[in-house]
Symmetry: C2
Subunit: 186 residues, 2 copies
């Protein structure tokens, strides 16, 4: 572990953030935010925000969910970690993306959310992506969520390695085989 550049008062590391998929109707619907501000003003994004020093990632997620949607949510799983330096035009951010469920409240657009919109991932996502309405790298995240949702619903084989990252590629069948977890003998 090299420590150069840590804590020297200059940003030498990506800024950690959370994004989160608020799901309902057996994960088929996801809540998106119509953005009030730049970047990507007017486009749709997954709700999210930065993690403060001293704050646990899942608490940042709960705080931002409350601030932007007024919903109380709880994490179900981590979908993936997205850290492409170009994912946010403002700075290098690294997003921990949670899948969550609503525990309490009714959705109401607040903070930098101009409006909220439930989308049916199976039916509406492709059209929204094609018409370039999705901000940041959230098209990738939402497509990864679609894969997760299908695995969770049992329509593809559920594996225990169903998390995603910026450069994760679709595996060929052969590669998939070599990565497959095999039971230990004996």
């Amino acid at each position: 572990m090299t420590e150069e550049g840590q804590g020297n008062g200059k940003h030498r590391n990506p800024v950690p953030a959370v994004d989160f998929l608020i799901s309902k109707d057996d994960n088929s619907k996801i809540l998106l935010v119509r953005r009030k501000n730049d970047p990507f003003k007017g486009m749709l994004s997954i709700p999210g925000g930065f993690i403060n020093e001293g704050e646990i990632a899942e608490d940042a997620m709960r705080r931002e969910a409350k601030e932007e949607t007024s919903l109380v949510v709880e994490p179900i799983a981590i979908l993936g970690v997205y850290s492409d330096p170009k994912r946010d035009p403002r700075m290098h951010t690294i997003s921990v993306t949670f899948i969550t469920r609503i525990v309490q409240g009714n959705e109401e657009a607040r903070d930098d959310a101009a409006a909220l919109q439930w989308i049916n991932v199976e039916d509406e996502l492709d059209r929204l992506i094609q018409s370039k309405q999705i901000a940041f790298d959230h098209s990738k995240i939402l497509n990864d969520y679609k894969k997760w949702m299908k695995a969770a619903q049992g329509s593809v084989e559920s594996t225990s390695n169903l998390t995603f990252w910026s450069t994760k590629k679709e595996q060929t069948e052969e590669e998939e085989e070599s990565l497959q977890i095999k039971p230990t003998e004996g």
Copy 2:
């Protein structure tokens, strides 16, 4: 998303890092590092390091694996994200923890690794934790890995929500049921 404190030249966010489990023998063995330096000098830890600005998390993981163990590794999955402010006594870090497999090379201790040691998770982990030989919050990470490994081996039911975070609790059966993903109708 509030932006106060971002990019103002002062650390107002946790510092993102990667840790990684290098596995062999059908995931039953994990490579640990005997620490050459403080904190936790002389204790065992999972290899890891900070993510540099401009660097994708999985590239930071590959770089650190090469630097500390001289192995070429590839990610299989993200085990979890660990962000307890007290996990590292030096500063607030947030760790993206990957599960990896070896693609090339032979392990050799380098950089701040005094030595490397394969441990059998099932047989040796409890003893190492009890004798307080594991650094940072890596006891938690290794226990979470043990759950992941058992799910992967099919000895407990494999679910698609098998990722972990700092405050994730063991669910009661009833809570587990309510979180369970159910197939959509029709």
